[in-house]
């Protein structure tokens, strides 16, 4: 237990050092304007952080899933403008289907429940068809891991991003969310593999990773707000000395704490092969709510300064406002939890919550 804690701390520290060095204000601004932060990505790959939890035989670092959480949380804290979560998610999807995971930035599809992608068998291999909407970083990545309908079940395909037609879009933080149109894209036989993973599984894993990033972002805005409250003076004293501000920051701190535990609990369930479906749904729902409350308080404490582009706060809050809606918003996951409980019945609620049946 304590060993795992130490490993996690080492990874966290390493990630923080790396981000401190590479995620400058300038990198942030340029990335949002469309410049790929190559040095940052290279450093991440060299540190073995981009595929932290992908097994070595598939091309990853072979760490525990908790390592993935540590890296994602740190990247969320720094509002890191690269598809780190997406690369990890694609890596998970590929490795899980027994495919070798390439280096370089990746994304995944579909991210929308309404998208339909399909693979057809050809003499030479496969062809992929369909449109994937709002693919994160679609224009920036080298590969996309696609979960598609194939004859006889679902299959995962590793596709070169250049094979798709790209229609640009963005989220509130200016992160690319692009439509990828696959128009009978030809794929080699060894880049496609059958999988037991369903679109719902992918959604769930995406939600979990976003929740991990959001927890980091929430930690950051708490830092910023507490620091600002200790510096900004009004009516002759720091605003952090006003009881009303203190009470608000205490609420923010509570939301941050709850987010952290919710996400960690879900990763624990994943690590222990427990009830991940339940815990991941809880995590995304709980962290989404915390993001709304937290971002509101952070902005209220920062006042007008926090509403400027000049201040760093919005790099975190715009991400929180976007991420809470990606891979299912709070209500989507809440409904899922609610329906599962309803189906199980009132007397199974407590067994479900404790993970001990009957």
């Amino acid at each position: 237990m304590s060993d795992a804690r130490e490993t996690r701390q080492l990874i966290t520290d390493a990630a923080h050092r790396l981000f401190d060095q590479y995620v400058s204000r300038e990198v942030q601004e340029k990335a949002e304007a469309g410049t790929w932060p190559g040095a940052l990505w290279t450093a991440l790959e060299e540190a073995g952080l981009t595929l932290a939890a992908v097994p070595e035989q598939f091309g990853g670092t072979g760490g525990a899933v908790g390592d993935e959480l540590a890296v994602l949380r740190a990247s969320g804290r720094y509002a890191t403008p690269v598809p780190l979560a997406e690369t990890m998610l694609a890596g998970w999807l590929l490795a899980d289907a027994g495919l070798k995971v390439p280096l370089g930035p990746m994304s995944l599809a579909p991210t929308q429940r309404t998208d339909a992608l399909s693979l057809a068998k050809t003499a030479a291999g496969w062809t992929l068809s369909g449109t994937a909407h709002r693919v994160p970083w679609g224009r920036s990545v080298q590969h996309v891991a696609v979960l598609a309908k194939a004859p006889g079940g679902n299959a995962v395909a590793l596709v070169k991003a250049g094979a798709a037609k790209v229609e640009s879009g963005a989220n509130l933080a200016g992160e690319p969310r692009d439509s990828l149109v696959f128009n009978n894209v030809a794929l080699a036989p060894d880049s496609v593999s059958k999988t037991g993973t369903t679109p719902d599984d992918l959604m769930q894993m995406g939600a979990l990773m976003r929740a991990a990033q959001m927890t980091g972002a929430l930690e950051r805005i708490l830092d910023l707000a507490v620091r600002y409250a200790g510096e900004r003076s009004q009516f002759g004293r720091n605003i952090g000395k006003f009881q009303a501000v203190q009470q608000q920051l205490a609420v923010l701190a509570g939301q941050v704490a709850a987010s952290g535990r919710a996400v960690e609990s879900a990763y624990e369930q994943r690590e222990q092969a427990g009830d991940l479906a339940f815990a991941a749904a809880v995590a995304k729902a709980r962290v989404g709510e915390a993001a709304s409350i937290g971002a509101g308080i952070a902005h209220q404490v920062h006042g007008a300064i926090g509403f400027t582009h000049e201040h760093m706060l919005h790099y975190s809050t715009r991400r929180l406002w976007s991420w809470r809606s990606e891979f299912g918003g709070d209500a989507y996951w809440q409904e899922l939890i609610g329906r599962r409980i309803a189906k199980a019945g009132a007397d199974k609620l407590w067994p479900l919550m404790t993970g001990t049946a009957g």
Binding site: R134, G169, A170, N171, L172, R177, S233, Q234, F235, G236, F242, A244, V245, S292, A295, G296, H299, Q300, G303, A304, G306, F307, T308, H309, E310, H311, L313, H314, T317, R318, W321, S322, R324, S325, E326, G328, G329, D330, A331, Y332
Partner: protein, 381 residues
């Protein structure tokens, strides 16, 4: 037993309802083809403002001798709420019509009135407000911009922050310290009308978090103001400003900033909404309906010569709370990814409102300040 808060009933005169229909007709034509837009008082459109001026819809309540139209405050209320509910681009003339014009009418010299008011009423002269500074937000008494007497006038040095649209405006109402602070820290400040095109002014854009340019930093370096540009009484600026602020807290802009999102939400939910959507929309509308009645009531009391300062603070506190809740309710009801450039009107309006929502509770007094005012009204401070 307390009787602290009073919200008298108000009946809109027939003239106001006639005006309402006129405004709707005008907007139907002018806004045709424009997408929905939250927080429309930040959209700067001089053409639109001139058309408003032509129709007599700026400076509506002012005396005719200054270009006004001597109509009632309730008629003006109806005009404003129609403009805001439709998301009309009112930002260019907004401040002059709402704050600077009335200030000049009340405290200005006859010369100032004759010079500025007709231009404002024509929709051709735009004002901004120079109050906040880098180190003074809610606490106005701590401003550092200084005006020093010199050559039959004043020389100003200092920096103003958050001045909306300074880069588009002709004039600023500047608050500057004109005497040293003494035991009463609110004494010794003065308001001036300042020509932003004159030398000694530097305007630097401050982009907001949505990447838009409304705010500015305005730096005055040895900027000369003649004596005749003092507004009201020398050293009495703080009192004049407080007066201005108190009664501008309760207008329709304090509850309608996110109204277009409610409209798009209703559209997105469709004619047969889920129970969940119906309940949530009904709740928001119950809040807005009540807020509008409260806001109207304050307008009526102002017109009747009462001083509903506390009531105005209550309207603003409840109003911004509701405005900020609207994007939250909307995003929870409709599972979508907000995107300001989306083709779907709901998704785009949601995105825009989310980005602007933090500002709702900053402008016009923060939540804590407003609640402090209310608590004082309850006798607790």
């Amino acid at each position: 037993m307390m009787q602290t808060f009073r919200f008298d009933p108000v009946e809109l005169p027939e003239a106001a309802e006639t005006l309402r229909r006129d405004v709707r007709k005008f907007l139907e034509k002018e806004m045709a083809g424009a997408g929905p837009r939250s927080d429309s008082w930040s959209a700067f459109n001089p053409d639109f403002s001139r058309k408003m001026g032509e129709r007599g819809w700026i400076g509506m309540t002012w005396p005719k001798q200054y270009g006004g139209h001597e109509r009632t405050a309730l008629e003006r209320y109806v005009l404003l709420e129609e403009l805001l509910a439709a998301g009309a681009p009112v930002s260019a003339h907004w401040v002059a019509d709402r704050q600077s014009g009335p200030l000049l009418l009340r405290f200005g010299t006859e010369e100032q009135r004759k010079f500025f008011l007709p231009k404002i009423a024509a929709g051709e002269c735009y004002f901004c407000i120079g109050m906040s500074e880098p180190d003074s937000g809610s606490d106005l008494a701590s401003i550092r911009t200084r005006a020093v007497q010199s050559n039959g006038g004043w020389v100003v040095n200092g920096t103003k922050l958050w001045t909306s649209n300074a880069h588009h405006c002709n004039y600023m109402i500047l608050l500057a310290r004109t005497a040293e602070k003494n035991e009463n820290r609110h004494e010794g400040m003065t308001q001036f009308v300042v020509d932003l095109k004159a030398p000694g002014v530097k305007i630097r854009p401050i982009k907001n978090l949505a990447g838009d340019h409304h705010f500015n930093e305005v730096v005055f370096t040895d900027y000369y103001i003649p004596n005749e540009r003092i507004v009201g009484t020398l050293h009495n600026g703080w009192r004049q400003v407080m007066n201005e602020l108190a009664f501008e807290r309760s207008g329709p802009e304090r509850l309608l900033s996110a109204f277009t999102l409610v409209v798009e939400l209703v559209r997105a939910a469709g004619p047969e909404p889920s129970e969940r959507a119906a309940v949530a929309i009904g709740r928001l509308v119950a809040h807005l309906y009540t807020l509008r009645r409260m806001s109207l009531s304050v307008a009526g009391m102002l017109q009747a010569g009462l001083m509903p300062e506390l009531e105005a603070a209550v309207v603003k506190d409840l109003g911004t709370l509701c405005e900020q809740e609207i994007p939250e309710v909307a995003r929870l009801l409709m599972d979508c990814e907000p995107d300001p450039n989306a083709s779907d009107a709901f998704v785009a309006t949601l995105a825009q409102t989310m980005l602007y929502a933090p500002s709702f509770s900053i402008r016009g007094g923060t939540r804590e300040i407003l609640r402090g005012i209310i608590a004082r009204g309850l006798g607790l401070r």
